[in-house]
Amino acid sequence: MFISFIIGSLIGRISKKVSYFFGIIGSVLGIVLALLVLLTGSSLEFDLWKTTQTSSFEFFVSPFNSYFLLISCFVWLGTCVYSIGYDDEDYTNDLSSLLIFTILSMVVTILSGDSISFLVGWESMTIASFFMILKGKGNADTIRKAAFLFLAFGEVSTVFIMLSFSGIFSSIGNFNFLASSSSAIHASGPLSSWILVTALIGFGLKMGIAPFHMSEWLPIAHSNAPSNASALLSSTLTLMGVYGFINVVVHLGQYELWWGWITLVMGGISALLGSLFASVSEHTKGLPAYSTIENNGLIFVAVGTFILASYYHLTLLGDFALIAALYHAFSHSISKASLFLVMGWISKIKKSFDLNNQNPISKTVRQVGYFPGLFTILSLSAVPPLAGFVSEWMILETLFQSFRFGDIASQIIGTIVGAITALAAGIIIIAMTKAYGFGIIWPEMKDDLETKETKSKIERSKSIKGIFYYFLFLILGIGVAAPVIFLLASNSLSQILHTKVFDSLVTGLLGIPTYFVILSGKPFGGFSPTFTAVFMVCLMIVPVAISRLGDKWRIRRTFGWFGGQTQPSATSSELYNSFSYSTPLRIMLKFLFKTKEKIVEIGGVRRPIILSPEEYFVEVEVLDVFKQIYDTLTKYALSLSFYTAMTVMPGRLGLYLIYIMTAFIFVILYISLIK
């Protein structure tokens, strides 16, 4: 698998297709490996070389990290197949190299058994992503800015993770805590708090958790990157943050109460802000990127509940919360990759990343996104029985049980965060309907556009359709076959938690056979996604049967109703647009968005009843306070680094950065070697 990815990244300069092909092989191998490990429960260890007596460079495939490998490989497989169709003459060959290299470094990050190789993987992942973002289309200056912002925050996150790992090192004396699942970090007092807080900030930065998301690094960076890169970054790069954070948290044996509070509150606020800002985003990729913040916030909430439950020794609730986090990571990664790929494809055909853009595209091209897009947004807006619903249901169920916590403060925080999370899950529907309505099935078709010019596009759309359906199948599968995923997640946690959660939480109920009902506690709620799916299909049969088997006269096709007027054409100025769709939200939540509405009247000189033509200019801006703060910060930071770079090394800034980063990695390697 490694070799396949390495070849892929090397060969990219010569041929993109071969490079992606190796990416596909690697991903398939990864899926097989991960499934084997997850089902057998055995773990593999490869020691590369000893660095000290107690530490070594090692790769380590445990059920825990193979669960994340499985998620990632599913996404990578889809992305690589998609890239073969997507990556054309618009982008240089470097893109494929960088993409596969990013994947490679993520594999290193996941499989690393020690913190040094974790950091090496983490760092190379950041750098590769940085260059990938630079390949984006659009205003060169904006892209450069976005990429540097991404890099800056990536580096800050690395620094915090290093601080966290140093704390762990001083506690247990070696770097290999990731591998030894059995050895909990028995740090106590300020040291363990130090470890958790630095890890929280370090991984939170990568996941875009509030208040760090407000720099908009994630949306800006992601939205300007090529679509396949965006999918990779938004669904798997943030997954690395989830992996790292959960990893550190489960290794801490004892918990403090306030850790749980902080995690819960940060998660809840991220979810709410993410969903709100997703709803007012007008960018085909900014919107899904904000939605990523929302989903990562939900994962944080689940982890926070886990911490609180563990503090009070509510084992069952804690396990359920952790499985909810893992499950949500799975469902979100798959759905988000799918959303990025579908919307990215439509944007590519439309030649615009603006949701308001009304460039008409042909019907055939538009139709490729109909069903996959629909199920993706339904999953992300948590509609049963799809993947997103099961995971969000699990997270909310854990919060419903916040009454089990021992103190009143935790109960109140749990309840409030529960309310906020539910609100966020509701608001995201606005964003998702907007994404589907304006980003996928918009604008109106025009058959006369199916001319020579678009023939190739239609052909390519048809060929790329398959990969959308691959994701559609996954989204349906994760939801309907929820107990299977539940089994995988509980297997992956079995070594860490020392229990088999699956047996205690998955039963049968009310005539539904065993292994089909997921219980969220004993005694508490239960849900069977499989049977919900069966029930919904049965319900659907009735209307479908009526419409199919009924008399001919029952079916009547008629046009839409436009107040008696004709249907406006695709390019008409009478079309409702995405901006107007979310303007009520901008106006209602003025205090949050700091909306500035400016209606400037130009001309329109009125003498008594003698009228002259009027001109108006409208400008609406959405602003947020955090952005202003970060803008000032980045402005100073950028100017400082710019001057430093100009004085120290007046060459190309990009080269200089590569140099610095490579030097940094080698220094780490060297230090670990001489020890």
Binding site: G563, Q565, P584, R607, P608, I609, Y616, V618, E619, V620
Partner: protein
């Protein structure tokens, strides 16, 4: 035939206090009816044609029949996310054939373009060559809910030309009809506002009162919408006897009293007040510039009323209180209407109490014209009349053919037509949900402006 109380002068410059109310071309000459708002006077003046061309398209008769028109002079709105929201002609908010184009970026109205003439019937063109009494049937069916204002305005202008001196009591009975019409129209507007604010119980009560006024109309004037009670030279129906007059007054007084009770309920409802206050503000200067008339103008603090500016009998003889409000918002316009129901009741009381008792349907030629054997003096002669209809100033300009006595020229300046632009202006910067309140508070009728 221009009444003595109308000043005739040349105009050099139109300033803020003198408003152009109507412009029409007669005998190849452009004339204007002006309003001196400060002194409450009607002025007839020559209008330089050069100036006339630039005057708003509203005041000229629009000749394109069967095609809808946008009331707009090339407005341009630019900005990210701006689109046109078409509303109508078949819509839930407006029970008539008419529409709007709302230029918006979502929720906030940047500019409102009324679309009229969906049902332009071209009555001004149709009546040419008709006998005045036949034309009357068409004229009073121009706007069903302003029918008595229309018929009285038209008949007064015709009688002016013909030199008919009709019985005072007939004129007083017409005035009674106009005030009844004002009351039921104001009740209608108030009911629509209540409906828009979802005050269903209260709205039902207001609508019941309106129905009672309509039944009073039917009882004393023979028609719920006052069609056909008027005729040239007198009236067909009306409260002729003292008993009828007394019955009418007491019935209306009861209605006014019940209405004031219901209004007290409305004004204690915060929900209702919140929707009306600060909604669709029309500042006084805008109202002046755009030529708003009627309760809409009075709501913005403009003290204008045709019953004072063009005081035909019996309005020159009775006390009329003009209700104004400075605020200019929907609440102000509604308050003006509420107060006008009360003041109309007072006027009705005076009218029915002091009604002269002469022989109603015996018109005679007035002394000045008695020497002429023709129906009217010369073919240059024309006449005009202004009536304060429920929605404001209504102007009819009539010219009769000297020989045949048939109509040669008719110009109608409906009140709704000039109030479209003030409505449009007042809604700028408001949100969609304010639209219904603003629209209803102006009391506009498409049938009126599309005559």
């Amino acid at each position: 035939m221009i009444p003595k109380f109308v000043e005739q002068r040349q105009i050099e410059e139109i300033n803020g206090t003198i408003q152009i109310s109507s412009i029409f071309e007669i005998n190849g000459k452009s004339l204007a009816i002006l309003t001196d708002i400060e002194n409450s006077k009607t002025i007839l003046s020559d209008m330089p044609l050069s100036l006339g061309e630039h005057v708003s398209l509203l005041l000229k008769e629009q000749t394109n029949i069967g095609v809808q028109t946008d009331l707009d002079i090339g407005s341009k709105v630019e900005g990210y996310g701006v689109f046109i929201f078409p509303y109508g002609p078949v819509s839930s908010g407006i029970p008539e054939a008419g529409g709007f184009k709302l230029i918006t970026y979502g929720e906030r109205i940047v500019k409102l373009i009324p679309q009229i003439n969906f049902k332009k019937r071209g009555i001004e063109r149709r009546v040419i060559g008709m006998k005045p009494e036949d034309a009357l049937l068409l004229v009073e069916r121009s706007a069903g809910n302003f029918s008595s204002s229309y018929s009285t305005c038209f008949i007064t202008a015709v009688e002016n030309i013909l030199g008919l001196e009709i019985a005072s009591s007939a004129k007083w009975i017409r005035a009674v009809a106009i005030e009844l019409e004002r009351i039921y129209n104001h009740l209608h507007v108030f009911g629509r506002l209540g409906e828009a604010a979802s005050q269903n119980v209260a709205t039902a009560q207001v609508n019941a009162l309106k129905e009672r006024v309509l039944r009073i109309n039917a009882k004393y004037y023979g028609h719920r919408y006052l069609f056909g009670f008027n005729k040239i030279g007198g009236v067909n129906y009306g409260p002729f006897t003292t008993d009828e007059r007394k019955g009418l007054v007491s019935a209306i007084k009861v209605i006014a009293k019940e209405f004031s009770n219901i209004v007290a309920f409305f004004l204690s409802s915060r929900i209702f007040l919140d929707r009306l206050q600060e909604t669709a503000k029309l500042p006084k200067q805008d109202a002046l510039n755009l030529g708003a008339v009627g309760p809409s103008a009075r709501g913005s603090g403009i003290d204008m009323d045709d019953r004072l500016m063009y005081p035909i009998e019996p309005y020159n003889d009775i006390f009329i209180g003009i209700e104004t409000d400075k605020e200019g918002d929907t609440m102000a316009r509604t308050m003006v209407r509420i107060q006008e129901i009360a003041s109309s009741t007072v006027i009705l009381e005076q009218l029915l109490d002091r009604m002269p008792s002469d022989n109603i349907n015996k018109p005679q030629l007035s002394s000045s014209n008695s020497s002429s054997s023709l129906p009217c003096n010369s073919d240059k002669d024309f006449s005009f009349c202004r009536i304060e209809s429920p929605s404001g100033d209504l102007i009819h300009v009539v010219q009769l053919d000297a020989i045949t006595g048939r109509i040669k020229f008719l110009h109608i300046r409906p009140p709704s037509l000039v109030n479209w632009l003030p409505l449009s202006k007042s809604l700028e910067g408001n949100v969609f949900t304010d639209f219904q309140f603003a629209f209803e508070s102006f009391g506009l009728s498409y049938a009126d402006s599309d005559r």
